[in-house]
């Protein structure tokens, strides 16, 4: 399918999220859309998918102008979309989710057999194995993503939009996804891919369009270096790997001993873990998602009771303390999932910037909360962390994904800390902001703070960590100095292979 966007403009109040954007996607092309956080990528795709109505401009499919009033119209024109946040019903089976909205019926009764057959056919054609009978909530994210793609493909789309599909995937899952996209391309489908990961873009895109502040600033070809692409996105030179000197570790700040934690279903998720983070060092915890990292961190933060063991912060026991007490002891926490745990969507940016500080001076006392001080703080933080928002009083839910992440990082890293626990701190953030966040983490370290970094992103671990602990099935199977670590070695360890 040939897709053409002409002069698409979308305004939110005074803000022009898309400013006369032109874009052409040729049949069988993988077209990457790059741009910093808040550039307007998701907005443009939502316009294309019929979720938003453009204020100006037209959409042409195979040179025929279209009006999309709803995603239904877009789907019938052959356009499918996989959203940044999945839109599956967790308690439905794969087959039910895929049927949803396009139910096959026989005399008014759902024809599950036919649907299952169709799904199997599609998944075989494109090499996307899914089990139609599996319940979606029991599946790993990578597989859920596959379900979303199969869902789009069963609608017989010719153009597939993927909005940051790899943000939540492990490196292996990402490779599989890229393989699938190649297959789709070979089958003649067009693909629009949004991502902040330049390596993926270079690996797979045929053409690249860069958007900045709502405008197309240029096109590039995948042959350009990552540095050049990054510079084009943010309009300045970006240092992709931060400079840092060797760590000068001091006294132990966090000492975890024999810690065991169970998950929500009562299964042992963390078994007898020992861990030490010292002042002035970054300990990176690497591991494939779901190997107990989440439970470990939650236990340290007092969000989840530990079964046994102890957690010491500078010698004082943290186990059994409330989250409030842990935070007050000088711990900063960037949670893994920003929308469920990190932000209150209805709150303003300013309020979210003090979500765990509202009781401390100058924002408030035990009883009184001071909106004026909160507003002043917001002004400074927004500037310092380059949060792109219409105002400090805008609800945080109206910010782009990456800017929401920056709000959390700004909140947690703007007070004196003994220990910073950061879980996927740069998830969904553009290269420019990754650089900034990474620099801040290193600065935290250099000022004598201890940093516990949890990431499924090997690049991030390798860029920041001084020592690396690899978690596998609830245990730390190896701890090694970052100096000797390579992605290959870590990759094997993450898969549970220790012997050498």
């Amino acid at each position: 399918m040939k897709l053409e966007l002409r002069g698409i403009t979308k305004r939110f109040g005074d803000l022009v999220a898309n400013d006369h954007i032109d874009l052409v996607v040729e049949p069988g092309e993988i077209h990457a859309l790059l741009g910093e956080n808040g550039a307007g990528k998701s907005t443009l795709m939502n316009v294309l998918y019929g979720l938003l109505r453009p204020d100006e401009g037209e959409i042409l499919v195979n040179d025929v102008p279209q009006t999309f009033r709803s995603p239904g119209d877009a789907i019938s024109a052959g356009i499918g979309m996989v959203h940044q946040h999945f839109m599956l019903v967790p308690v439905f089976t794969v087959a039910e989710n895929i049927m949803l909205g396009a139910e096959d019926t026989k005399l008014g009764v759902l024809d599950k057999k036919k649907a299952s057959a169709h799904i199997t056919e599609v998944s075989q054609t494109y090499g996307l194995p899914v089990d139609p009978e599996a319940v979606v909530e029991t599946l790993p994210v990578g597989v859920q993503q596959r379900v979303e793609i199969v869902k789009a493909l069963t609608r017989e789309v010719d153009l597939l939009i993927l909005d940051e599909p790899t943000a939540v995937l492990t490196p292996q899952e990402t490779d599989e996804l890229l393989e699938v996209l190649r297959g789709l391309k070979a089958a003649g489908k067009s693909i629009v891919l949004i991502t902040h990961k330049l390596r993926e873009v270079k690996a797979i895109a045929d053409k690249i369009t860069v958007i900045r502040r709502g405008k197309v600033v240029g096109t590039a070809d995948p042959g350009e270096s990552e540095d050049e692409l990054a510079a084009m996105m943010v309009g300045r030179h970006v240092q992709l790997v931060v400079d840092k000197s060797a760590a000068e570790p001091g006294a132990p700040v966090l000492t975890v001993k024999d810690l065991s934690v169970v998950d929500d279903r009562g299964h042992r998720a963390v078994t007898d873990i020992d861990l030490e983070v010292r002042a002035g060092e970054v300990l990176g915890v690497a591991g494939v998602q779901g190997n107990g990292q989440t439970e470990l961190i939650e236990a340290i933060m007092g969000l989840r009771p530990a079964v046994s063991g102890s957690v010491l912060l500078g010698g004082a026991e943290l186990r059994g303390r409330t989250t409030r007490q842990v935070l007050d002891a000088g711990v900063g926490y960037v949670p893994e999932d920003r929308s469920t745990d990190g932000l209150v969507k209805e709150f303003t940016v300013a309020e979210n910037l003090v979500l765990d500080l509202y009781k401390s001076e100058p924002f408030g006392s035990k009883l009184v909360y001071r909106p004026e001080a909160v507003a002043r703080n917001a002004k400074d933080r927004i500037e310092e962390f380059d949060v792109r928002t219409q105002s400090a009083d805008a609800p945080v839910g109206s910010l782009s994904g990456g800017n929401q992440q920056k709000v959390i990082v700004a909140r947690e890293m703007s007070r004196p800390l003994k220990l910073l626990i950061a879980s996927q701190p740069a998830r969904g953030v553009d290269v420019g902001s990754i650089e900034f966040i990474h620099k801040r983490i290193i600065r935290e370290r250099d000022q004598g703070g201890a940093v516990l970094l949890v990431s499924t992103e090997l690049d991030e671990i390798l860029a920041l960590a001084d020592r690396i602990a690899v978690m596998y099935r609830g245990e730390i199977i190896a701890t090694l100095p970052a100096a000797g670590a390579t992605s290959e070695k870590l990759g094997l360890l993450m898969a549970g292979v220790t012997g050498d």
Binding site: L15, V16, G218, G235, G364
Partner: protein, 423 residues
Amino acid sequence: MTDEAKPPAAEPERTVPPEKDVAPRPNRPFRIFIEELTTASTFMVTVLAVVLALLVGSILVIISNDSAREAWGYFFAAPLDAFEMSWYAVRDAYVALFQGAIYDPAKPSAWGSISETLTYAAPLTFTGLSVALAFRAGLFNIGAQGQAVFGAIFGVLAGFLLHLPPVLHMLVALVCALIGGALWGFIPGILKAKTGAHEVITTIMLNNIAGIFLIWLVVQKGFQNPERTDAISKSAEENARLPRLLGFLEGDLRVNLAIVLAVLAAAGVSWLLNRSTFGFELRAVGGNPDAAKTAGMNVAMTYALVMAVAGGLAGLGGASMSLGLLPFALTPGVIANIGFDGITVALLGRAKPWGVLAGALLMGGLQAGAVKMNAVGGVPTDMVYVLQALIVIFIAAPALIKTVFRLRDGKASRSTATLAKGW
């Protein structure tokens, strides 16, 4: 690479280029006013919901009016008659509504109608605040009725069991009412906090218990008025009653201190929500309990406390009836329906304290007007409940209002949708 040669230095915030900036633009307040009028803001939706309810209500007025019905009976003989009669019926009804609520030349005092409206509005403000506060914390307090019952009971008991000097007695009685309501609100709160029991279920049950307890209590020895055989308790002592505000005017004006307390309560809740740490916690918990927990807040404790405070407010609402109005005693119907009406008021006020006060004034006006409407036009007083129900339906369905009045999608419409979803 087709990028611009160098990045533009400090790009200005993107703004819409003003479309043909010829004439000087209208000044700001006016623009805001226009925007408010033409966009589907919460305020306009509320006003239009009321208008729409009155329109639909007029059909009911016509049906309930004998001469109008009769005229429709011979519609084909004299069609104009039917319309004329209908018009008279509706006009008379709404004129009576206005007279009952705001100004009635027939009353001995020009303040007569206002006095009634304020009298009705005061308890509704309290219960409305109760529901609104809980709602902001993500809780649906159906229990304001039961909490108000306990407030009324504690208030009157303190009113006749204790013997204290003026002013002090009243203050003590009010504090007792507050505690009574707070206790009855704390129960579902702590149940939710400790066991996860849904507050809607528990508060409905507690409403029933409170109502039946009241019926039982008023006929018990020591509580029942010894001079009466019907279900009525002893009266609160003079010192414990809420004084009338316009007692010096002629016309026996009922409006009393309760409305002043209600305004203070709205101010207090407004402060609590926006300028206290508890309010911040409450709103955070209401918005996203997981994030609130991660930020170190005690979500369970917040639920329990919010329900206690909400109960206390409803309790004051109950006392404003039992200590503010004749016979200053408990009867099975002493607080009427103020708890349930409070839900409507909170919805009308969009769960904002000053909005609640406005909503209570509107509801109070409707109730005061309904009495007059009944007396003059024979429109059943239940008409008010029909109007109330219609308003709720129209507010809960902003999309409907928008289609009916073809409003542009406004900035505020998103919060409307959230509210509608929440309810």
